[in-house]
Symmetry: C2
Subunit: 278 residues, 2 copies
């Protein structure tokens, strides 16, 4: 049965947006949809135009033998700011203040919908730096890091707090948690990351930056090239962090247990990104 | 500017497939795309037909005031079997055998592409049981559980191995790991799950079923109604598990460290699912 334009457009859109950053050869769609190359090129032009108009990301087509078509999740700066503003509003709810002045964020960090959008935002920020892996430290950062990896179509590599006995030989380092001053361990099985990989580090929370510093150190053991560091929430204090080159989305200024208020806003580090200027 | 059919179809397909199981009011699309209801109904019919023909899932529209349109990720049984067969082939690679007769699966359990497809498969199996939450135990099952929750558009709730000090009052239980016989603890903050919730339990691996038994026990503390239990890989031995009512995708029969062979195949428990008969 011959497909109509609308039907082909639906299929191509579904396939491309299910797997962002993956390049599909045009011949693959030709075979799947039984359509000529010229017809498919017109279909792709329709999708491209629609995505551009609604700022849903970019459709890239490369011509030639190795050519293919891919969807890149480049959301607009105004969309990104809107999502992050919504998140700040949500995080300001007084009943998120926990004893000890902590902020309850676990529901958001494990929400598929929030983490999808946050992962998409990190992907939009770092896609041009072409990381080959996303690396995170267990546990709470896993969902955002996984979604970032999904939108970049690269594997996620997990740093563990203990030695996992079931994963062969392991590289471990000690690091000092900057806020508590305690010595901790992080480890990564040798087989989990090839030497010299290009990595994007993602974490959910940064105070002094000790964990991030440790992540950079263990990456050095793997001779990895760090393409970027993305943090979801950083605290304003201490102002001097143990790492210098990173991006954060949100800055937590203060929590008052007594007044039941949370002061949280878009991170000043957001403006550093050229992808984010309209 | 007036949009053409292809452009509207691209946008609607992107929005629906980015958030499976979420019902979008038709009026929302009307406003977004500046199109009449009748035009949108025709667009949706095109998408529906295309998705049906390529077994990409179902487009559901409810008529009336509270009506809306949603994409349900109901992949075909043949697609599901194909994905799982591919996974078995991958898991049979001899260099996945670790000292002690363990199987290295971490790369797959943290692969965005594998976990997307596996989460979609679990969602297809359990969508009709309408769970309100997906629940999993840290750490390795998190990505598959998150993707399952994403395809069902419900929150993910994480059981922890220790008491997380930063999350308010916590319910803890002890359970006996069936294979090691050791007593362990799992805990869940009270605020993480409302009483009487309908939950789907997802875990990556089951041997004797002690962890799953513990998950059921802690769910009882929350008066939760268990809509289903989904396991990615179960071992054939012991044949008698500590839980009765569950679904598994893959069965690990044996690993021979000496002969460097892994015997692994589709789980006999797959056939129990009516969604899986063509």
């Amino acid at each position: 049965m011959r497909l109509k334009r609308g039907e082909r457009v639906a299929i191509i859109t579904k396939v491309l947006s299910d797997r962002p950053c993956k390049s599909f050869p045009l011949s693959w769609f030709q075979e799947m949809l039984g359509a000529a190359k010229s017809t498919l090129s017109e279909d792709l032009a329709v999708i491209k135009r629609a995505f551009e108009q609604f700022a849903l990301g970019r459709i890239d087509s490369q011509q030639g033998v190795g050519g293919g078509v891919a969807y890149r999740p480049l959301r607009s700066p105004s969309y990104i700011r809107e999502v992050l503003q919504d998140l700040c509003v949500l995080l300001q709810t007084p009943d998120r203040i926990l004893p000890g002045g902590f902020l309850y964020m676990t529901d958001i960090l494990f929400s598929p919908w929030w983490t999808s959008r946050l992962g998409e935002i990190f992907a939009a920020m770092f896609v041009d730096r072409e990381p080959g892996f996303v690396v995170t430290m267990e546990t709470k950062g896993i969902p955002v890091a996984l979604m970032t990896a999904k939108y970049l179509d690269v594997p996620l590599v997990l740093l563990r707090r203990d030695h996992a006995v079931t994963e062969g030989s392991v590289v471990s380092i000690n690091y000092v948690s900057g806020s508590s001053g305690r010595i901790q361990t992080m480890s990564l099985p040798k087989r989990a990351l090839p030497r010299g990989a290009r990595v994007l580090l993602i974490d959910d929370f940064m105070k002094a930056g000790g964990t991030c510093r440790g992540m950079l150190d263990i990456m050095a053991e793997f001779e990895a090239e760090v393409a970027g560091v993305g943090i979801l929430v950083e605290t304003k204090d201490p102002e001097k962090k143990l790492i210098v080159d990173y991006v954060s989305l949100i800055q937590l200024e203060s929590i008052s247990e007594h007044a039941r208020t949370v002061s949280i806003h878009l991170s000043p580090r957001l403006v550093m990104l050229k992808n984010l200027t309209d």
